[in-house]
Symmetry: C2
DNA sequence: TCAAAAGTAGACCGACTTGTCTACCACGGA
DNA sequence: TCCGTGGTAGACAAGTCGGTCTACTTTTGA
């Protein structure tokens, strides 16, 4: 199954760096060193290759973030570790991740605005998974379920905002600023 | 100058709804009812039409937001009004704005990741303008310049995060949740 | 009134798009 | 040995891409 994974890896890299509609099938094939028929043996269309790329990116990012957060004690420290993790990401200090070009899921939804499109939906799934990860840790530092949900939501918005600011404005310290705000929100509870 | 503006309006609408690379010149021309030569009399390339569309969107969004915020007393009330404004935007209750498809500037940067590209830079300019608007009002409720900068930054991240959450996840209450968090950050100062 | 300016329609260019198809090759197991 | 599997290379189809060009018409202003 090496060829299929080569295709997904190459497609994801090119889609992430240049946008999905800007990259043609032929370019993916050439850079992956795979024949066209092989692609259409594994995928029924470009769109299904895009879906596979989104799914792959979901697994990559989620497991990376989960590992980073779980390297610290559950609760407050893990939540703050998230901001250190994305800070390393923004500054390309995370060898497991390709060069920072914003959030692939946000970018993909910009190209597939229809919320019913499979690609858009798959991106929403990723964000929901990350939110659940945050909520799990938020429950360790909050008294009630409702409070945990609120805290997780606040941290989620700060993280997404930092990603946008880092990418659009090139602010490489966006994650640290978000962390400073976040740390003030966790303690008072 | 009616034709030129028609082109920019139509291009912006199509680019915003479907993404920039997904829309061809011919489609813009057909929907605008304008001949191809007319386009190339006013713009030297598709890219320069894209730049004009970004600039037009900047003016549209900024003046809309500024008007909404200035309709309330400067400072705390204006800052909170921002969240009500984007809430109306998310829920398509703002007749001056087309149907919500996320932030055009974030989406555009997803398609032009290179921070040196004119389109990317123009998007960064828009975000900086909005930030300055926030900072101006933050200075009314903060004691120091540094505190104002921090508050404006926090509110900015919350707003960007809410836009992302509303678009990717379809959470139409994202702005209200962000407002609730924000209101807790303004008062204690 | 008349000429310049600005717009239209549409052919045309070369390159590229997704996707199909044919022909061939290399390897692994019966 | 022989066949099936999975791959390669590349032609091909039908259409679109950004962009140029010609020829014609409409508008505008002096």
């Amino acid at each position: 199954m090496g060829r299929k994974q080569d295709l997904v890896d190459t497609a994801l890299r090119l889609f992430y760096e240049h946008g999905i509609h800007a990259i043609g099938i032929n370019q993916v094939l050439q850079e992956a060193g795979v024949a066209k028929q092989t692609l259409y043996n594994h995928f029924e269309s470009k769109d299904s290759l895009v879906e596979a790329a989104v799914e792959h990116r979901d697994n990559l990012i989620f497991s990376w973030l989960e590992t980073r957060m779980n390297s610290r004690p559950a609760g407050e420290e893990a939540l703050l570790e998230m901001f250190d993790a994305v800070h390393d990401w923004f500054n390309n200090r995370e060898p497991a991740l390709p060069r920072f070009c914003g959030c692939f899921f946000i970018n993909a939804c910009g190209e597939y605005s229809d919320p019913e499109h499979p690609v858009h939906k798959r991106c929403a799934v990723h964000k929901a998974r990350v939110f659940e990860l945050l909520k799990m840790h938020a429950e360790k530092v909050c008294c009630s379920q409702a409070e945990a949900e609120q805290l997780a939501n606040a941290l989620f918005l700060l993280k997404e905002g930092a990603i946008v600011k880092a990418h659009v404005e090139g602010d490489l310290d966006a994650a640290l600023k978000a962390k400073a705000i976040a740390s003030g929100m966790i303690l008072p509870h």
